[in-house]
């Protein structure tokens, strides 16, 4: 057996074991209630691993039926992943009704732009359509996570350690997947199996991060913020913007004016 295949098997077994450990933790700590879509995503990952192991054993790695099963299961896992991301976004920003309404529009637009861009760059080669759709979705997921975290930082919205770690794990894996898929088609056949080890290693890293996220017995709770009346925002926000504009003008004056003797 070539070394790449041995390492691949070791990594595959490790990731399956970690997925099972994570599922057990999620149910044991009753976190599946708080994170139903994330739990479904991990559970689908376990199911996919087991189904593919059987399919490859029966029909072989290169059979067309194996290919079909692999991509069908991948699309289901991807949909679950996207749902887990949506769940995370709602958990982080959902309680802040005003900025959540703003964020959801922003995230949708960004996801659309990223998907269109990914499709444009890949020129829609039909032979690798599934691969490219997969890449576009993963890129959109990574972008959404990053924008979500940036948005939360901008508005100083507190994020629990669990949510933060889930976001990091999802983003690292999606980013690596995009690079992996982009390089995949250009890599010579003899190095292909070695290249695939990388994404497996990244997935194990993400699983370890998620396991750490749910390891502690109790989840942190974000206090429900007491929202203010809408008129307060309507009254103060334009006034604050006006002052910000004036400060900007002040700096612009400093910038434009030529000052001697400095």
């Amino acid at each position: 057996m070539p070394p790449a295949e041995t390492i691949q098997n070791v990594l595959w077994t490790t990731s399956l074991a970690l997925q099972i450990v994570l599922i057990v933790i999620l149910f044991h700590r009753r976190n599946h209630r708080a994170y139903p879509f994330f739990t479904a995503y991990i559970a689908l990952g376990v199911a996919q691993s087991m189904i593919l192991a059987l399919v490859y054993r029966w029909w072989g790695f290169t059979a067309f039926r194996s290919f079909q099963v692999a991509w069908l299961s991948q699309s289901l896992v991807l949909a679950a992943r996207a749902s887990a991301v949506a769940e995370l976004c709602r958990k982080v920003l959902g309680i802040y009704r005003g900025i959540w309404a703003l964020a959801i529009r922003l995230l949708a637009v960004i996801a659309l732009i990223v998907v269109v861009y990914a499709c444009y760059v890949s020129s829609w080669r039909w032979k690798v359509t599934v691969l490219e759709a997969d890449r576009a979705t993963e890129l959109a997921i990574a972008s959404i996570i990053v924008v979500l975290l940036a948005f939360s930082r901008y508005y100083r919205v507190p994020i629990t350690t669990t949510d933060r770690l889930i976001a990091i794990g999802l983003c690292i894996y999606s980013s690596s997947y995009v690079i992996n898929n982009s390089v995949d088609v250009k890599i010579p056949q003899e190095y292909y199996s070695y290249w695939n080890l990388l994404i497996e290693a990244v997935y194990i890293t993400s699983l370890a991060i998620w396991t750490k996220a749910f390891w502690s017995s109790a989840l942190e709770k974000v206090e429900q913020p007491r929202l203010v009346e809408p008129s307060l925002y309507q009254e103060l926000s334009p006034a604050i913007n006006l002052r910000l504009r004036m400060l900007n003008e002040q700096l612009l004056a400093f910038w434009r004016t030529k000052v001697p003797h400095l």
Binding site: G98, S143, R153, S175, Q250, T257
Partner: protein
């Protein structure tokens, strides 16, 4: 490496950089539970001292000192003026950031926000930070071009007066709004 692959690599690298930035704890890592804490400290602490800044930039003072004193004195005054200019910039930045923080907390705690105002504020912050960094770099490098100090002094004076008046108005507005919110809260009303 093809253009497509390169663009994906750059895109992912950019995303990871923003991810790293987003995960870093901000310097003013505070999020008040209610909007009541907004009025707890003055919104603008420095921008109201424009008259003093104007005085420090006085052209007459500089010419007087340069003509009567030694070259060493003129050089010292020049150094002092640069220091004042840098302090003035830093103060403007601190005031700007204070206002931004208040605006963000207000937006986060509001049940409805206006996208146009939020985006305007975001771009104002981007412009301000860029200009601030450029101006500061030029001042530090002593490369500020020669010109008409008088014009700047006038501008600082005019804008300063407008800003001072505007800030008084804003503080009164904020105090009234927070009072109103407290009254409704005490009465058991649901503000959300």
């Amino acid at each position: 490496m093809t253009l497509g692959l390169l663009s994906f690599v750059l895109l992912v690298a950019g995303l990871l950089i923003i991810l790293y930035w987003s995960l870093r704890r901000p310097a003013d890592d505070t999020f008040p539970e209610t909007v009541h804490t907004i009025g707890a400290e003055p919104l603008l602490r420095h921008a109201v001292y424009f008259s003093q800044v104007r005085q420090s930039f006085s052209d007459d003072d500089f010419h007087f000192l340069a003509s009567r004193g030694s070259g060493k004195l003129a050089s010292r005054v020049r150094g002092e003026r640069r220091r004042v200019a840098l302090e003035y910039l830093r103060a403007l930045q601190e005031d700007f950031r204070n206002l931004m923080r208040v605006a963000r907390v207000l937006a986060a705690l509001s049940p409805a926000v206006v996208a146009q105002q939020e985006s305007e504020r975001f771009w104002l912050a981007v412009h301000f930070e860029c200009r601030y960094q450029m101006t500061r770099a030029i001042l530090i490098a002593r490369g500020f071009p020669l010109g008409h100090l008088h014009r700047m002094t006038q501008m600082i004076g005019t804008l300063g007066a407008r800003l001072e008046a505007a800030m008084v108005g804003l503080s009164e507005q904020a105090a009234r709004a927070v009072d109103l919110a407290s009254t409704v809260n005490r009465g058991g009303g649901d503000l959300s």
